[in-house]
Symmetry: C2
Subunit: 478 residues, 2 copies
C-alpha cells in the first residue's frame, strides 16, 4: 500500500490544477515523452497503440464507404501553397520552411505540409478529365506540422498525426452529402468507440477552415467544461478547383469544375479521451481502444498454483481480448495503482481462495465496482463488462455535459454565465461577426458551432437584439 | 483488339530500354504520379495498397517478435544530429534543413529526419535506467527525406516511406541476434510473400551504414541483372549509447552501456517487385500483395445471365480473396490488357458457354496458362493457383539470378565479365578497401555483400593476390 500510495500521490488532483493533472497523466501513464525538439512529442508504445486502434477502426470505416488511401509528398513548394488565396493566408504564418537541401540553397522554399489540399488538387488536375473519373475518394495517413507558439501534448503540438480525406465530386449535393457522411463517421467513432458524446454542427464563418465554404464539426466537452473540436469536415465548393484548373467533361459534354471536400481527425482525440474520462487515479480508457483491456493480477503469487492459474487465464483471455498478466515482484497494491494509472478497463484478481472456489474478482476501472465471476463464465462476463464500462463512461461524460450546458439571453447574462464554471453556453445569434467578436471580447468565449439540432430560445440575437438566424453553442475551447 | 493493342504499345519493351520500360510501367499501372515537388512522388491508390499489404505482413511479424510501435518527431535539431560523429558525416550532406517557422528565423536549424537513430537515442537516455528496462524493441512507420540529386520512382526518391526499428539490448550477443532475426524476417518477406529470392550477407565497411559497426543486407537481383539492396539491419555496438550517454545499472550493479541495432525496409520494395517480375505487358504482382488478386471479366456481357453470374461469382470470391468484376463497356480484349498492365495474378473469364457448362476460364498473369475450372471448385482452385503463380514467379526470378551469377578470379577477368551482361560477380577478397575501390574504378561494380553462405573459390584476392578473407558478391546496383 505504501507503494501504491506513492504512485497515486505523484499526480496532481484535477480539482487542484486540471492542466497540471493532464500533463501528469500523459507522462505517468507513459503515453508520451518530451524531446529536445520544441513543441513536438514522442508517442510512446502505450500512447501509439491507442492511436493504432483509432486508425484501425477509421480505416475500415473509410474503406467500407469507398475511400482509398494514397500518399502525397510532405513538402509543398511555396508557389503551390499560394494558388488559393484564403488558404495561403490561413496557413503561411504557421508553416515550417525548408530552405536548404544539404549545403545547397533552394531556388524556391518548400513548406512542410500543414495540410495537403494543394497537393491533392494538383494531382486531381492530372487525373480528373471526365465525369467517369468521379468521384475521387482519397485519404492519407500522415503527420503535419503547424508552427504553434504554445503547445500541449496531444492538444496542440507542432507536429501531429492525422488522416486527411480529400474528395472530388460531380455535383455540390454529392460533395455536401460526403461532408455529412464523414462527420457522422467521426461522431460514431467518438460516441460508439471512445464513449465521448459530441454535438454536431456547422462552424461560423470566423471559425471555418481557410479556403472552405463551410466547415462542419463535432464538439466534445471535457471534464473541466472546456470544449474540444474533435473532428471537422469541409465543403469547398469549386474554389480550389478553379484555382488549380481542375475541369472535367460532364454528362452534358461541357467542361465543369468538380466540387470538393476534405475532412480530418488527429491524435488530439487521445487528449479528448484523457480529459473526458480520466480521474484522480489517472487515465481511464474506453475498452475498444485500450491497448490492455484486462490486467490479470495474481494475489499471493508465491503460493502454489496461483501463477500457473493466472497464466492459464491469460491464455484463455487472449483469444478474445487484449490482456496482460503481471507476475512481477511488485505488491498487488502497487500493481493495482499502476494499471489504474494506465486506465486499463478491467482488473482481474486471482488468489488461492478464488482458485479454490473456481472464481475471480473483476474490478471496473471507471467506478471500481467489483464482481465475483465464476471462472467458467469469463468468455461472456468480460465482454459484458466492457460494454458496461463503455456505457458508464459515456453516461458520465453526457451527464457532465448536461450539467454544464447553460443558456444566455443577453450579453450581460453571457458575461455572467461565462464567468462561472466552464461549459457550453447556448444563445440565439443574428449571424453578424461583430456580435461573435463581442462575445469573445467581453465573455472570453468563442463560437463552438451552430448545432444541426437547433432550438428556438428567443426571437432575437442575445448580443445585439436584431432578429436571430441560428442558435449557437459558445464556450472556452482547447 | 485495337484498344488492347493501343494500351500495350504504350510501354517501351524491356529489351529496348529497361529504364524507360520501368518508368512506363509505374505510370501506366497507376502506381504513382509526379508532382511539382522535385524528386518526390505521389503514391496512388494502387501503389499505396501494395505498400499496405507489405506493412500489414511486416507489422504482424514485428509484433509477434515482441516489438512495439512508437512515433518520434520528424524534425531533428542540428545539435542532436551532430552527437555521433560518423553518423552526421554520413547524413548531413543529404538532409533538408528547416530554417524558418512562419516568418521567424530559427535560432537552431532543424533537419527533416533522414533516419531517427539520434531521436531514439535521446529518448532511450530518458527511459533506460536498469537491466530490467531492457530490451527495448521499438519500431516506427513514417516517411524520411534524403536530398538526392537524381531520383527514380520507388528506387531513389527524396522522400520515401519506410519502417525503422531501433532496439537496445543488455549484451552484444543479444543485439547481434536481433539483427539476424530481423534480417531473416526481411528475407522471409521477400521470398515467401514477394516471391523474390535474396542473398543474405554482410556489407563491407565501405558500404555499411554511417555509424554502424556492422550492416547486414539482403540483395535481390532484378530482371536486368542489376542488384537491389532490399533491406538492411545494423549492429551499432555501444557507439551511439556512449555518444548519447545511455547507461543502465547491470545485474552486477555496475553502470553499463547498452548494445543497439536498427533495421529498415522501404517503398523501394515495390520497385523490386516491378523489376523482378514485370514483363512487356506490364506489372506482374505476387498474389499476397496484389491489391486485386482476381479480375472477373464477363464475356459477351450483353447476353442474358452473364452479368448476373459474374456478380454472383464476385460475391463468392470476396469471401476469400480480393476481387474486382469489370462490367464496364470496354471490350474484353481491352480489359485483358488493362489487368495485365496492372499485374493482377489471375483473370477469370466467364461467358454464356461457360455458364452453360458450369465452368469458367482462369488465366495466370505470370505465364498466361489457362485452366478451365468447374464453378463448384473455385474455393480450392483459386488459392492453389495463387500458390502456383507465387512459385512460378519465384522460380523464374531464381533462374534469372542463377543464369546471371558469374565468377572472376582476377582483375582482368572481373573487368571482362563486368563488361558483359549485368549480374552478380563472385570473387575472393583480401578485405582491403583499396581492392574494393579498384573493382569499382576499373569494372564499375560495387560490393553487394559478403554472403553468409561463403564459398571457397580461390586462396587469394582476385584483385591483389594477397590471402583472401572472404568471398564477395559484386555488381551494378540500383
Amino acid at each position: 500500500m505504501a507503494d501504491s500510495k506513492k504512485m497515486v500521490e505523484a499526480i496532481t488532483s484535477m480539482e487542484e490544477d486540471f492542466a497540471k493533472w493532464y500533463t501528469d497523466v500523459v507522462k505517468k501513464a507513459e503515453l508520451i515523452d518530451y524531446s529536445s525538439v520544441r513543441g513536438c512529442m514522442i508517442l510512446r508504445p502505450y500512447g501509439y497503440a491507442i492511436w493504432e486502434h483509432i486508425q484501425h477502426w477509421l480505416d475500415s470505416a473509410f474503406k467500407s464507404t469507398g475511400h482509398e488511401n494514397v500518399y502525397m509528398p510532405m513538402l509543398i513548394p511555396e508557389s503551390l501553397l499560394q494558388k488559393e488565396k484564403d488558404h495561403v493566408e490561413g496557413f503561411a504564418p504557421e508553416v515550417a520552411w525548408v530552405t536548404h537541401g544539404g549545403s545547397e540553397k533552394l531556388s524556391e522554399r518548400l513548406c512542410v505540409r500543414p495540410t495537403s489540399e494543394t497537393l491533392f488538387c494538383e494531382h486531381y488536375s492530372h487525373i480528373i478529365k471526365s465525369y467517369r473519373d468521379l468521384p475521387k475518394l482519397y485519404n492519407q495517413w500522415c503527420s503535419v506540422i503547424r508552427w504553434e507558439k504554445t503547445t500541449r501534448p496531444f492538444l496542440r503540438t507542432m507536429e501531429f498525426l492525422w488522416q486527411e480525406g480529400h474528395t472530388m465530386h460531380e455535383t455540390a449535393e454529392e460533395a455536401i452529402a460526403e461532408t455529412e457522411q464523414m462527420l457522422n463517421i467521426y461522431a460514431q467513432l467518438c460516441e460508439d468507440v471512445l464513449a465521448i458524446p459530441v454535438v454536431k454542427g456547422r462552424k461560423t464563418d470566423k471559425e471555418k477552415f481557410a479556403g472552405a465554404e463551410a466547415t462542419y464539426t463535432i464538439e466534445a466537452m471535457m471534464h473541466d467544461g472546456k470544449s474540444l473540436q474533435a473532428g471537422t469536415s469541409h465543403y469547398f465548393g469549386d474554389g480550389f478547383a478553379k484555382a488549380f484548373d481542375i475541369q472535367f467533361t460532364g454528362r452534358d459534354n461541357k467542361l465543369q469544375y468538380p466540387h470538393q471536400t476534405s475532412w480530418g481527425v488527429t491524435t488530439r482525440l487521445i487528449g479528448a479521451i484523457i480529459m473526458a474520462h480520466g480521474d484522480n487515479n489517472g487515465l481511464v480508457l474506453p475498452p475498444q481502444v485500450a491497448p490492455i483491456q484486462v490486467a490479470i493480477i495474481p494475489v499471493a503469487q508465491h503460493k502454489e498454483g496461483v501463477l500457473k492459474k493466472a497464466g492459464e487465464l491469460k491464455q484463455r483471455l487472449e483469444k478474445f481480448c487484449r490482456v496482460k498478466m503481471d507476475d512481477s515482484n511488485n505488491s498487488p497494491g502497487w500493481k493495482y495503482a499502476e494499471y489504474e494509472m494506465k486506465g486499463v478497463p478491467l482488473r482481474l484478481e486471482i488468489g488461492p481462495r478464488d482458485i479454490e472456489q473456481n472464481q475471480c474478482v473483476l474490478v471496473r476501472r471507471d467506478n471500481r465496482e467489483k464482481t465475483v465471476v465464476s471462472l467458467d463464465e469469463l468468455e461472456t462476463a468480460i465482454p459484458q463488462l466492457f460494454q458496461k464500462v463503455h456505457e458508464g463512461l459515456y453516461q458520465k461524460a453526457l451527464a457532465n455535459r448536461e450539467k454544464r450546458t447553460f443558456v444566455a439571453h443577453s450579453l450581460e447574462e453571457m458575461i455572467q454565465v461565462a464567468s462561472g464554471e466552464n461549459g457550453f453556453i447556448k444563445t440565439m445569434w443574428c449571424g453578424d461577426p461583430a456580435c461573435e467578436e463581442m462575445f469573445k471580447e467581453k465573455a472570453g468565449v468563442s463560437s463552438r458551432c451552430m448545432p444541426f439540432e437547433q432550438e428556438h430560445l428567443d426571437d432575437v440575437c442575445a448580443c445585439c437584439g436584431k432578429p436571430a438566424k441560428a442558435m449557437v453553442y459558445w464556450g472556452k475551447a482547447y
